[in-house]
């Protein structure tokens, strides 16, 4: 320790050499966070390996036939996941078809100063809280409240459109249609939240420009604001699609868990996730492997949708 000035004994500055213990601590902390961060990658790999290993037996015996046949017969050990795959796709896509206009409409309603700020914030908060309600509680509500309440409407639908294969069965409680409606309730908050953020990020100049050339409010929304926000909204919609495909509890409780193929939306159906929830606990032998195979298909579906969502957001986003 020596003074740089060499003037007095009270040095104003001291040159400090980093002790090796401090360097070691620095390095150790870095390696610790690195190791813990890599757990994410390890867990992801472990999930893939576990599910893939588990499904090898079923893959070997059923191959691609698994995707195209609908027999699910534990007695004769014949398994095909067509009913569950059809149910997963139909419920998730139809629920989005309903939830997208509702969610984007709500997001516009609470971003485009149509109503006082207080009320906007209140609606925003309520939609966020809806996202926090556990799916099993929504399932309970769907069984005891929603399904009995909408049954007359579904019966009317059957009476009017019963000649098409999609409404050809009489509604008898659990089925695909109530499952679709409860999925709408579950994905609505995601779509609303993402659309709201996207609309809030549209630069004010774009609005001012549109109003400046004399358009109405909704003219500006349709011609300027929505196109500017569309990439984030599409990304959010795809995230919601992934969530709808993997959603388990509420759907399991209300879809009826039928193993027979039926085109009708009013009939009981099944999804991959609800099949897993129902059968995994009691399955053994090759049935476990068949369920793992179905889980692998579900993972691939959601993975594809999620990666596409990220790609859409990165690729299509407008630069201002």
């Amino acid at each position: 320790m020596s003074s740089d000035h060499g003037l007095s004994t009270d040095a104003l500055f001291t040159r400090r050499r980093r002790p090796s213990s401090e360097k070691l601590l620095d390095l150790g902390f870095r390696q610790l966070t690195l190791a813990l961060a890599s757990i994410v990658a390890i867990v992801l790999l472990a999930i893939l390996v576990t599910v893939f290993q588990g499904s090898r037996e079923a893959m070997a015996s059923f191959g691609l036939r698994f995707v195209t046949t609908s027999a699910w017969d534990p007695v004769n050990n014949q398994y095909g996941a067509l009913v569950a795959i059809y149910g997963t796709l139909v419920t998730s896509i139809l629920s989005l078809a309903i939830a997208v206009p509702l969610g984007v409409g709500t997001a516009i309603f609470i971003t485009e100063d149509l109503i006082p700020t207080r009320l906007r914030d209140l609606i925003g908060l309520m939609v966020e809280l809806l996202a926090a309600i556990p799916s099993v509680v929504l399932g309970l509500w769907a069984i005891f409240v929603m399904e009995p309440a909408i049954r007359p409407a579904l019966e009317l639908l059957h009476k009017l459109l019963g000649w098409t294969p999609f409404f050809s069965t009489t509604p008898q409680g659990p089925g695909m249609a109530p499952a679709i409606l409860i999925l709408v309730v579950m994905v609505l908050p995601i779509i609303t939240a993402i659309a709201r953020d996207a609309l809030n990020q549209v630069p004010i100049e774009l609005r001012q420009g549109a109003y400046g050339v004399g358009t109405t409010r909704w003219g500006a929304i349709f011609a300027v604001i929505l196109p500017a926000a569309i990439s984030s909204i599409i990304g959010g919609v795809m995230l919601a699609l992934g969530r709808a495909m993997g959603e388990t509890m509420a759907v399991t409780m209300i879809i009826g868990n039928s193993l027979n193929f039926d085109l009708s939306l009013l009939a009981p159906g099944n999804t991959i996730a609800s099949m897993l929830a129902n059968q995994f606990g009691e399955a053994d032998g090759i049935q476990v492997s068949a369920l793992m195979y179905a889980a692998l298909i579900l993972m691939l579906l959601t993975f594809t949708v999620n990666v596409l969502a990220q790609w859409v957001v990165r690729r299509l986003s407008l630069k201002y």
């Binding site: 969610g103 609606i123 309600i133 609505l188 993997g246 929830a277």
Partner: protein
């Protein structure tokens, strides 16, 4: 609801050829097609917003009414009744939910916060940082039931814990897999908000990297980190799918963390589909307790978020 074309006032005529301009008065005319359409769309979006809020109101009303009227001390202290019997409570399931969520939080919070610190403070643009970041996004999108299938294959079927198959520990691990991406993401985003001057200032007075991160950066971002933690815990407490075949269910009081355990969410699922009134009522009561806990946690998180000084 007005549009921008309704500003009253008039453009005074000038010397130029006026036939170039539309000479209609610049006052709002509600009968114009554009203004009618405008009003119609406003009405539709308002209707959509009402429809979006409606389910929350209905679910809350039913949970409050159906579950609230069963609220009693017995609910918290007794075991669920055998099928066909009356009365009983959900004490074991409440204790189980707390225990399983605690296990999940003890695993996911340290790992997640450290992962977020690595991504924000060390990774930069390195390939490994990008792998972790991408992996985190993918893990966030993995359906919750898959995390149950994973833990079943890894822990339950292989009986790694003292030959026990279904256990509270396995359920906690399955939940921690779901919590991890949320904790990492919120920690990372919270740390990103800390201004770089704070770090430079700490280095300037001679602090090491370790001291800078633990004494300066993390305390500055404590609010967003704890907000994320509260939200992740609240979400985990309501999860059911990963627990059905990892923690299973139990009609008795919790017996250590290496045995099957009852949780409120699995109780709701099991009791909702039973044909007995007593069980159905307990499912509503458990929903009431769960929803109150989760709403309180969410409001706490919002309050915490409002405290942020960054």
């Amino acid at each position: 609801m007005t549009s921008f074309s309704n500003r009253s006032g008039s453009v005074s005529g000038t010397d130029t050829d006026t036939s170039l301009f539309d000479r209609r008065p610049l006052t709002f005319d509600a009968k114009l097609k554009r203004n009618r359409l405008n009003g119609l769309f406003t009405l539709i979006s308002g209707l959509f917003a009402t429809l979006a809020v409606l389910p929350l109101v209905l679910v809350l009303v039913y949970v409050l009414v159906q579950g609230g009227r069963l609220l009693s001390l017995r609910l918290f202290t007794e075991l669920p009744p055998a099928p066909g019997m009356e009365g009983g409570g959900i004490g074991n399931a409440m204790l189980g939910t707390v225990l399983v969520t605690l296990i999940a939080a003890l695993i996911a919070l340290p790992v997640g916060v450290a992962g977020g610190v690595y991504l924000s403070e060390y990774a930069g643009k390195s390939w490994f940082g990008q792998v972790v970041s991408f992996g985190n996004d993918v893990l966030a999108g993995v359906p919750s039931i898959i995390s149950g299938v994973f833990v079943y294959g890894l822990i339950v079927a292989s009986r790694v814990f003292f030959g026990q198959s279904y256990s509270a520990m396995a359920g906690g691990i399955a939940l921690s897999v779901l919590m991890l991406p949320t904790v990492i993401k919120t920690t990372y985003e919270g740390l990103k908000l800390v201004p770089n001057e704070l770090r430079l200032g700490a280095y300037g007075v001679g602090a090491s990297r370790f001291v800078t991160i633990t004494q300066v950066v993390i305390p500055a971002a404590l609010t967003p980190i704890s907000t994320g933690a509260v939200l992740a815990i609240a979400r985990a407490a309501g999860e059911t799918a990963p627990l059905i075949f990892t923690a299973l269910f139990s009609a008795f009081w919790p017996d250590g963390i290496f045995n099957p355990i009852a949780t409120m969410s699995v109780l709701i699922f099991n009791f909702a589909i039973m044909p007995y009134q007593a069980q159905n009522e307990l499912a509503w009561a458990a929903s009431f307790v769960l929803v109150m806990m989760i709403l309180a946690a969410n409001l706490l998180a919002r309050w915490l978020g409002g405290l942020s000084k960054i």
